[in-house]
Each structure stands twice: as C-alpha cells, then as structure tokens.
Symmetry: C2
Subunit: 452 residues, 2 copies
Amino acid sequence: MAFPCLDAMETRSETLKASRSSSGPEPSYTSGATQSYHCRDPLELDWGGVLPEFTVAYETWGGMNADRSNVILLHTGLSASSHAHSTAANPQPGWWERFIGPGAPLDTDKYHVVCTNVLGGCYGSTGPGSIDPANGERYATRFPVLTMQDMVRAQFRLLDGLGVDRLHASVGSSMGGMQSLAAGVLFPSRVGRIASVSGCARSHPYSIAMRHTQRQVLMMDPNWNRGFYYGKVPPHAGMKLAREIATVTYRSGPEWEQRFGRRRADPSKPPALCPDFLIETYLDHAGEKWCLNYDPNSLLYVSKAMDLFDLGRENQVAAQARRAARQRGIRAGTCTPADSQCSLTLPATPYEEQPDVQVNAEDPVGPSSSRPPHDLVLGLSPVRDIPTLVMGVASDILFPAWQQREVAEALRLAGNRNVTHMELSEEMSLFGHDTFLLDLEHVGGNLRMFLN
Amino acid sequence: MAFPCLDAMETRSETLKASRSSSGPEPSYTSGATQSYHCRDPLELDWGGVLPEFTVAYETWGGMNADRSNVILLHTGLSASSHAHSTAANPQPGWWERFIGPGAPLDTDKYHVVCTNVLGGCYGSTGPGSIDPANGERYATRFPVLTMQDMVRAQFRLLDGLGVDRLHASVGSSMGGMQSLAAGVLFPSRVGRIASVSGCARSHPYSIAMRHTQRQVLMMDPNWNRGFYYGKVPPHAGMKLAREIATVTYRSGPEWEQRFGRRRADPSKPPALCPDFLIETYLDHAGEKWCLNYDPNSLLYVSKAMDLFDLGRENQVAAQARRAARQRGIRAGTCTPADSQCSLTLPATPYEEQPDVQVNAEDPVGPSSSRPPHDLVLGLSPVRDIPTLVMGVASDILFPAWQQREVAEALRLAGNRNVTHMELSEEMSLFGHDTFLLDLEHVGGNLRMFLN
C-alpha cells in the first residue's frame, strides 16, 4: 500500500531542511527584476497599525507623456506580481502579456502602464517577510492588519513619487477589481476612469468562507509555526493545499466537465486515495507549482484584507476614525510609529459571538434583493463623476456576477451616469473567475473601447 | 499576539493523548443503538477486493406487513447514520425526524422503513475501523476500495436476511440518491419505485475536486499516519478542516448572505486570522462538532466511493468483469477471500497521466450538452420499468440541478415513461444541497405523493 502524494510531501520537507541547514536562510520570493520606490513617510493603516516606512516594487510599460496625463495604474489579483508583461529587465511573459503592448487593450503606444506589487505581498513591496525597522527582525505575524485601501494608499504614494497627479485610468481584475474601485473612492480627483473586472464592492460570506478554509489549512501546517518559519522549512504542505482549494474557486464545474470529465490519470490502475482522477492531478499540479513561490504569511495577510473589503459608508467612516486617532497619538507623542503597543495587530483572546449583533432589517442584502444596500450607495458616492466599466462573468463562483451587478447598480443609484456594465454569459466563457486572464476578445475588447 | 484556534487544536491533541494513555483504546464511533445483521458469505467488491464476512447495522420504523411488501429502503448521505428517526432504543431525534412517522412522507402507518449504516462507514457496519478476520487487526487502509454498488449489495444481503424479496421503494438523498438509483440498476426486479433527491448518476469533476481537497487535508494531518491511528490521537485537526470545506459545499452563498452577511463575531475587536467573521465561526463550529465523531478512514473510503460513482454502461461492464475474475479465482482456489494478494487495495506507485486517454468526441458531456451521454442511457436501461422520482435544487452547488436533469433525461431516453422530475427554484429554497434535510414542504410533500 502506498501514498505517493505523502511520500512527495515528506521528501520535500527533508530536501528543504537539508538545504536550509547547508546554505543558510532561504532566497527571497521574487517574480524577477522590478523598479522600487521607498517611502520614508509613515503609512497609517485602516485598522490602526502603522508602517514607519515602506517600499513599493513596480514595473512599467510604455512612455509617460510630457504632462504625465497618460498613466494607467493596473492592480493585480491576490497572487499575481507586478510582472503583467515582459520587460527588458525580465523577458518572461507576464500574466497579462497579450493585454498590454502596442495596439493591445492597454495600448503602450498611448499609455504609460504602472503595475505594483501590493503591500503585504512578497515580491519586493513591504510585507510580513520584510525587516521591521523597529527591531531589525522580519515582521512575520507581528505585521499589522492591512486593507485594500491601505494597499491603494501605498500605490498613490508611489504616484506622488513619480510626479503623477491624475491617472488616466485605474484598472484591475479580481482583487485588483476591488482596488480599482477603492482608488476612485479614496482619490476621486486623481482618477480619470475606473475599470473593475470580476471584482466587487464588498466581499460576501461565500468567498470569505473559501478563503477561511485556505488560511486554516495553511495555519494548521505545523511548519507555519504561527508565522515564524523564516530560515526554517516553510509550510509547503499547507500552501499546496491552500492553492488547491483556491484553484477550485478559480474555474467552473462546466469547464472541468468538458476538459476532464470523469477521466482517470491511468485507467488501468485501481483507484487510489492520492490523486487519481485527472481533475485531482490537475489540482495537485497547481498546488505543487505554487507551494514554494509565495510567502505563506503574505497569503494570510492579503487574503484577510480581501475578506475585510467593504466600500460601504459605515466601514469607511470607522476606518477614518481609527486612522485619525492614530495620527493624533503620533502627533501628541503618546504613540510612535514603531510602537507595537499602539499598532493594533492581532487579538489576544478568542472571539465570542455577541448577542446584540443583528441584521439591519431595512437593508436587505444579497442576490435575492435587486437593490444594493443604501450604505453601499453612500460609500460609492465619491465615484459619481468617474466613468466606470464593470465587467462580470456568469460562470464565476468566487466573485459571482450578482456582485458586479451590485456595483453597477450602486454606482447608478449614487448618481453616476457613466456606468458601463457587461456580463459575459456561460456561452461566452466557461472559465469562471479566471476569465480575465484568458479572454482577450471580450475582456480585452471591452477594456480597449472603454479606455479610448 | 494570539491564535486561539491553534491553541484549541493543540489542547485537544494533548487531552486526547492523555486520555488514550490512561484509558486504553478510544471508544468506537457510534450513533446509538442499532440492530445488526452479520453475513458470513463473502462479498466480492467492484474493484476486485473481497470481504470474507461483514456486518450491516440498521434501524427500522413501522411494521412489516404479512407478505413483506411494504418495505422502504432509505439510503443515507455520506456522514449520516442509520438514525433517521428516533427509536425506542435511541430516543434522540434522527436526521429525517419529521419526514418519517405516522402520516409523515415516509408514513409508518403504511410502510416498514429500513435505514442502514453504509459499508465502509463507522456506525456498526463493516468498515476500515473493523477487525480484519484474516489477522485480527483493524483493517485501516488495508480495507479494500468500495463503490456505491458494493454498499447497495450489502444492503440487499440484509434484505435477504429479513426475507424481503421486493421493496416498495428505494429512497435516498445526496449519496443516498446515488444508491437509490444504483439499487434499481443492480436489482430491477426487487425495486418497486425509486426516489432520488439531490443525487446523480455519475459524479462530476467539480464535486470530485471538492472531495479531493477534503481527503488531502485529512491525509496531510500527521496524526492520520497513513490510516494507522487507532489507539492513538486521531487526525482531529484534518477532520475538522475537511468538515469545514464540506460545509462550504452543503449550503449556498445566497443563504449565507442573508444569514451572516458581513457581520463579525465581535465588531469591537480588531480583525484576526483565527475565525473572525460570523461565517467563519459557523464553519469552525461545524468542524468542531464533527472532528471526533466520525472515523477518518471511513470518510476517505466513502468519499472515494462517491467519486467513483458512474452508472454508465462501460463502468458497469468493467466492474462485472473484475468481480467475475475474482469469483473464478476463489472457486479455482488460486485466491482465498482473505488473501490480500488477490484483494486489490491501493496502488504501490504514483499515477502518471497516460497519453492515450482521450475524450470521446461522440459523447459530449456536461451542462453545455442537453443530451446525456449514450453510455449513461444504456447504463440506466435496467430501470426503464421502475417509476422514478428525481428531485433537484437550483441552489445546490455540490450536486447541481443539471445532474438531476441529466438523470431524468437519461431515464426517459432509456424508455422509462414514469419519470417525475422536480426542481426547487431559488425562490423555493436557498439551502443548497442541505435542502433535503430541511424542506418538509416541498421535498417531503413530493415524496409523499410519489410513494402513495
């Protein structure tokens, strides 16, 4: 009796252990050469934490014009790097290689495209694997809780550094579709257009649930060691499983029915508990490719930031209040930017459900209601004058099409008369959430028309 | 900084370790008192294994009539026990308490309802936690691979023992909906009616993928120990996570949007990586309740049997050939029922995708095709004369409604003129796959009409 999938996992642990002890700390995670902007001004974060200084790694394509008015800021998905397209310094194809270039939807003959690595990630921007200037050690899980808005504020510090006052457009898909909207809400006077593809204005509980299981799987890996695995064997088994679960949410059942059906990897063999059906070997391979190429703590922080995403007015007001209190503390000298007592991180006691938490009966939510909650309409009102393209995909289970309908409807109710909403039917795409990576014709085509 | 969810896991491991060493082996898993049927004739299994003898634990409600013609065989879901309704010996409410009883959809004034614990499970029927008569030790992962049809054959051995020649009806939901169909295919002359609720005729890759991630999470728990954890600390952390993933597939996003929305367990606290949003505490609680109440090896074997389910003709013919070869070996004396060399279990080498595995272009599959594959129509032809009720739920993501449409259509194409197909819309139920446990009005009501 054999479990080749467990043998492979144990072999990897042994190999990593041997290489760590022979060659010192592991190499940093990287997606290749980037440019880098270091900001020495503190960044106050939505949940009360602060980064005394930080770095944003980024890449660019196309030339900036004289008045710096042709800049498109491109926001990435959770696991993607700034490497959206090949560069001279890094000729590897990027994740949107066909969408960027001369004559492409993001046309580098016209636009200067900037793509950043998000704060909290592991590809050169400050994240949990970075050195905390307060003590010279890696942050690990001492890193403060982040939000999408914190990541966007860091991006606009970079734009400040580049001397870019106003974007031609803020463009993003998936998590980037959250950020492209958030950029408009935070800096309405600095954003010319918004394109949000397969994104949303607030995370819903099903996607929180799917990310929860990924985080739990990772945190349960003994090698995670509560975040302090740097220089040791990383939680590669948990990362592999987390990626497998994520992959289930990125595509659609109908696509897999056509692509894999019920075929087994080797029909001549009896069934196995390790990967056996083709769909299983596909998931296994997706996990294998990923498990050593992304910092596990970055996955936790960025995934959590996605859960926390809510452009409703109430949430924005609460975050502003926390940031203002933090700034007052710093100015009054009762907190310093490097003071971990003042920088909210993670709680010391478990949570109990509070009996007074109740549904607001006046705000029916979800797909059974055709009207977005009033709080969300208020929250999106800063974007009322920005032309916005919202695209969704009917086969997407992670950011289901009702979420993009909600964004478009909330924008219209907020008074925006320039909202374009597109929904790709199952006939147009069976690729689910991943459609934005693959569909040059519809996603690329609509984007091109909207940007010009 | 604190991770209360990890503290809880570690505390449970310590407690279990202490109790194992102080009081000997753990108590058996149980759902309460059952009746028991022990069969001393070997059961040849679809994948070539054999059980030299086996036990079926079961419960019954209502009286059997004189000619034993009023028996309804009720098949369970994956994790459910035979305890569908309270009994004198076990007054705890069952999982279908309101669906069974005098005047209920399964009317005990008219019918004798029999519900078994499946072969491979852990509630009294033979499974991987049982003692192997060949060596006096627990089977663990030496247990042979099972199929739905193997489980059904064991149920019919029980019916033989009870002197029941023909069922009034074979009824089941979820995995039980697979088995209720399989009973008709295997024993068409012994089944009067079939009711299959939220089931299917063949597992599709999305549900295989979801079960794959659950099995992997469990197998990666170091306490699983390749199945040999009996008498030691069981893989409770893996079981908890597997249940959390399963729970995501049992309900629907829209239901959670209404029930939990974006509420946090304690909004006065900063965000946490351990459960924080209400949906997370809900999943956590579902995992906690389950993690010590079901045998992890049973989960693996029964879950795998669901993946292998395919009532297509080709698969049936191949299984018959394997069983026949096994029987010839036993008769010729080249194999004994207890001979593990003859009993196929799990493979010794990893699988590689075979280049000659190809899609049959003449059999378009999946929801994009309105016509079920011809192989499935042939496979269901034994059921052509049995009145059949097929029910599905539009909000089900695990056994999506197209699968029940496929069953109904394949039955009709096979020549069955007594097929009733019902699909509960999202307006009727947002409870997804779990609808069959909750919806007395529609599921119970349709069942009652069909059975009478």
